[in-house]
Assembly symmetry: C2
Homo-oligomer: 274 residues x 2
């Protein structure tokens, strides 16, 4: 069997994409991974698509230099510039975006096809989830989007199970709930941290779709059905996991350890992209 022992590269504007990495690590024990968090320039979600595209291309070029066999864009805001396909064909290795698998999972889960999307300003104004959901041409599909710029800062402040955060969630969700959605996409890798509060406000009639879980499942399936997989029996010399950030702070180290639990993480390496 042909195999490919090169690592899989992932990047996110910050460390939220570690939730994708955690799912991949658990399901693909033979694979090596390189994770890049562009923490010196985060967040991407408040920035223009031109700037986000520039950062995406720089991050992909950086990971390519590390000889990865595939690249996972574990960030919804960065994934938006991949959805319309104007960059397809420009990359040396397969590049996975987090939006298409999230949209597919939502269509599969929804009965009424009235689907809500929570995302950053960049994700919502790029309209990428709506594009992916509507191009399947499933009758009666309707998409309702809501930009939620306060949710990332609330997660980073650590106010996760907090009445104040629940008020913010309530305010963002109200317009979607009055549209009688039955499925809600958590279109940012930070939002699963608020899954409890979002689920309580949404109520039991609404299925929550975690875009991080959706992309991990898609990659795991691709690895299983292709020659992309690594050989079994990892060489002790091959580093299984490298974590790199463009800015280093003690809080990143702390949050990384918490997000990756129970995996033990290596020391963060500081790298310079731009």
């Amino acid at each position: 069997v042909k195999t490919d022992d090169r690592p899989i590269g992932l990047f996110d504007s910050g460390i939220g994409g570690l939730t994708v990495l955690r799912s991949l690590l658990a399901a693909l024990p033979n694979e090596s991974f390189v994770y890049l968090g562009d923490t010196a320039r985060l967040p991407y979600g408040s920035k223009s698509s031109a700037t986000i595209e520039r950062y995406l291309l720089q991050n992909i070029a950086f990971l390519n230099k590390l000889n990865v066999k595939a690249i996972v864009v574990a960030c919804n805001s960065a994934s938006t510039v991949l959805v319309d396909g104007h960059l397809s064909g420009s990359f040396q290795v397969p590049v996975y975006n987090v939006i298409e698998p999230g949209a597919k999972a939502a269509l599969a889960a929804s009965v009424s096809k009235r689907i809500g999307v929570l995302g950053t300003k960049a994700t919502v104004s790029a309209n990428s989830y709506a594009t992916c959901l509507l191009r399947e041409k499933i009758p009666n599909t309707v998409v309702f989007q809501q930009a939620c710029p306060l949710l990332v800062p609330l997660v980073e402040e650590g106010w996760v199970d907090d009445p104040l955060t629940n008020l913010v969630i309530h305010r963002y969700l109200s317009p979607l709930l009055s549209e009688k959605i039955d499925t809600l996409i958590l279109g940012c890798t930070h939002y699963p941290a608020l899954r409890g509060g979002i689920g309580r406000v949404a109520g039991s009639g609404i299925t929550l779709i975690d875009s991080a879980e959706a992309i991990a499942s898609a990659i795991i399936a691709d690895i299983a059905s292709s020659t992309l997989g690594a050989s079994s029996g990892r060489s002790p010399l091959r580093p299984a996991l490298r974590l790199m950030t463009t800015d280093v702070s003690s809080s990143f180290t702390e949050i990384s350890a918490r997000l990756m639990h129970p995996h033990v993480i290596p020391a963060l390496e500081a790298v310079d992209i731009a």
Copy 2:
């Protein structure tokens, strides 16, 4: 009389520093200004001092190339790396930081010398206001700092006169209020937008210090007492104001116009720093 017709340069991580520019424009009608908003890399307040210092040096080099006669760091987080003086002597022109004038204004206003500081994580963890307040060695000076990472996103979301924002303000201010401060420094150029809510929560016994107003007063005084001032009677060919940002979005244009009212602003120029 010797005069200097070169423009004054200002920079901020975003557009909050426009409030400093507005004060300068009103008080110094003969001066020209160049404003740089590093919107592609904002915010600075959540980043490490090493990264902030790198950005500061790049921004100062960029403004020097535009032949400015002085540079105003209209951003508290960026100003922190200037307070300990390790960079003094490295600049071609005078560089003003926003923290020293804010600290001086607070000491002048305070009777009890129990002074509170609201700032970003970077500003609070650099301890810069405390350093400036305590080095005057005024008896009984005590400083209480509070990092407020949610206030900038709340201002940018536009939830300015909002019960939810008042709850957040209440939570951040409570520890300072129980320390019986009589003066409170708004140590971020975004916070004056929340002056109403902060004032109501603080109560009438606490004087609010706006660091943007404090630095504008310091510069206006320096211009008056030096040969740094421009000649009177502006040449029609000299552009009085240029606004540059590293990321351009329609919302920046909108917010800039609002912040600078009643001044009419020129079109934002997109520039590349790094």
